[in-house]
């Protein structure tokens, strides 16, 4: 009789251990995914500000637009604490630049304009996607870390709780997003 109880207890402990290690492994994988997403987001943002800066100094745009864009891109790239704000400002500056009437027609034919605009558009897409996937990973990680067993056994260790990255990254003005505008396009 006691032997059966002992076996049951041992089995329970083993099962619990397996469960805990499965949980911990899952959390670990989530943290790894989060880390990768963060790198991708960072790279996308840096690329976007670099291309914006390149466009600003290319001579394709008029000097006032160039200065506007250069300063926004520079602020975004050098911001550390207020990064979300600075990146949102860069988006707004881009929107103002590309929102000029007949913008595409006016720059068409200028040397290097097509390539730079195409590159900027693709960089902006990357930011949009990378941010979506990063926030997705944050949500999943936060959810996993809130489990009682994870909290109780401190499975998350000392890793800081991840935070969402909230910026304005839509190149379409608010209110004008249609069903096809999930990925931002510079011009309609």
């Amino acid at each position: 009789m006691t032997a059966i109880i002992v076996i049951l207890v041992v089995a329970a402990i083993v099962l619990f251990g397996v469960y805990v290690s499965w949980r911990a492994g899952r959390l670990d994988r989530l943290h790894a995914r989060l880390e990768a997403a963060r790198f991708a987001l960072d790279a996308a943002l840096v690329r976007r500000s670099s291309v914006a800066l390149e466009l600003a100094s290319s001579g394709v745009l008029d000097p006032a637009t160039s200065v506007l864009l250069a300063e926004a891109a520079h602020d975004a790239r050098s911001a550390s604490s207020g990064r979300e704000m600075a990146e949102s400002d860069l988006t707004r500056a881009l929107r103002a630049v590309f929102g000029q009437p007949d913008f595409r027609a006016l720059v068409a034919g200028r040397l290097g304009a097509e390539e730079l605009l195409g590159e900027l558009e693709s960089a902006a897409h990357q930011v949009f996607l990378a941010r979506k996937f990063y926030n997705d990973a944050v949500a999943a990680t936060q959810d996993a870390r809130r489990r009682r067993i994870v909290l109780l056994l401190r499975l998350a260790g000392t890793a800081p709780s991840p935070e969402f990255f909230e910026i304005d990254d839509s190149l379409v003005p608010a209110g004008e997003t249609g069903p096809a505008a999930d990925i931002p396009h510079l011009t309609g």
């Binding site: 100094s57 008029d62 000097p63 006032a64 637009t65 200065v67 602020d75 103002a96 007949d102 913008f103």
Partner: protein, 375 residues
């Protein structure tokens, strides 16, 4: 002289630089000169006859806040056409480093160009990213003016070179007529605040805290606030008991601005920093309103070290309360401060300031020929 002035900020929204350009243009016209101003504005906006619209301003993040600017190819071609039609003897651009019409005008013009710097930009937000783009336009400027020491040091730090100091002007006569708002100033005393409520550096929070200190002992004391911002947020900083004694006017017209200054017993300027000049003080001086102001360098200069207005320790509500109480209780001191201020303010009258600006034009223009469109 045929003078072309360029305002980089939206003509339809009140602001320091726009007021300056307007005042200068009108003073120069009064002195018999031929003046044209180009500024961002809608084509169908109601504008003074001397203003040429360059198209609607676009709100963009610039220098830590949102500015209403005009840029892009269409603005650039409007500026070119204006330069061509104007055939100016001198081109005077304002805030040429801002990404707007002034920069476009520098780019598009050759000949005698004068520029006035208004803002004090902190070193950390330096223009270095845009430096190469700016340099070729700013190099063309042959005479540089700064409205205050802080604007001059910004210029020297960022771009090198030097500038002549010529202060901001006011139309003193326009402020003199006593026509207070209905029900003001009354008998219990009125503290006044003129400026944006939602900009922390304007220091409204310091004044509200000081008012909370003064209100219990002075049952008749009121607070009159004129400026853009969230009224509910401001009121929340005042104990509920005294809220009824705070009068919020919101954004006011130029005429009501003057009436507001005549409605207060003491005008408070509790700014905490970032002021390069202190236009609000000069306006209050012109209106004859006794002043209590933060002890900032720029303010101290305008108030002649305290002779033309009382100074208090910047950011300290208790010090403001004490200084304001001192003035509220002493009509003789209020009168003597106002009298000193009304003499000191003459130096800032547009008739004086515009003549100084003309001297700069005369120093630059003959040697450089006429303003032409660059090829």
């Amino acid at each position: 002289m045929r003078i072309g002035l360029v305002c980089p900020y939206d003509w339809e929204v009140p602001g320091g630089v726009r007021e300056h350009v307007k005042g200068l243009a009108e003073a120069l016209i009064e002195l018999g000169h031929d003046v044209s101003v180009i500024a961002p504005a809608d084509d169908d906006a109601e504008l003074p006859s001397y203003v040429v619209p360059a198209g609607r301003a676009v709100p963009v993040p610039y220098n830590g806040s949102v500015a209403r600017l005009a840029f892009g190819f269409l603005s650039a071609s409007r500026v070119r056409r204006w330069l061509k039609d104007g055939a100016f003897d001198v081109l005077h651009v304002h805030e040429p480093a801002a990404p707007s019409l002034s920069l476009l005008a520098c780019w598009a013009a050759d000949g005698p160009i004068v520029a006035t710097m208004h803002a004090a930009i902190p070193r950390s937000r330096a223009l270095h990213a845009a430096q190469p783009i700016l340099a070729s336009a700013l190099e063309k400027i042959s005479g540089r003016i700064a409205v205050a020491e802080a604007a001059r040091s910004t210029l020297v730090e960022h771009l090198g070179g030097d500038a002549v100091l010529i202060p901001n002007g006011v139309h003193v006569r326009g402020y003199e007529k006593p026509d207070p708002l209905p029900g003001f100033p009354g008998t219990g005393g009125v503290l006044g605040f003129l400026g944006r409520m939602d900009e922390p550096r304007k220091g409204l929070h310091v004044l509200l805290a000081a008012f909370a200190l003064l209100a219990p002992e002075r049952p008749g004391l009121r607070l009159l606030i004129a400026g853009r911002g969230d009224a509910a947020e401001a009121l929340q900083q005042v104990p509920a008991l005294y809220r009824a004694r705070v009068v919020l006017l919101g954004q006011v017209s130029d005429a009501d601005r003057v009436r507001m200054l005549h409605s207060v017993t003491v005008l408070c300027a509790p700014n905490t920093g970032g002021e390069s000049f202190g236009m609000v003080l000069v306006e209050a001086m012109a209106a004859g309103a006794p002043i209590v102001a933060s002890d900032l360098d720029a303010f101290r200069q305008v108030l002649l070290g305290g002779e033309a207005g009382a100074l208090f320790e910047t950011g300290n509500p208790a010090a403001l309360a004490a200084a304001a109480a001192g003035l509220l209780d002493d009509p003789g001191r209020r009168a003597s401060l106002a009298a000193a201020a009304s003499i000191a303010v003459r130096e800032f009258d547009w008739s004086v300031v515009a003549r100084d600006v003309l001297r700069v034009y005369e120093a630059v223009a003959p040697a450089a020929g006429r303003v032409v469109v660059a090829t």
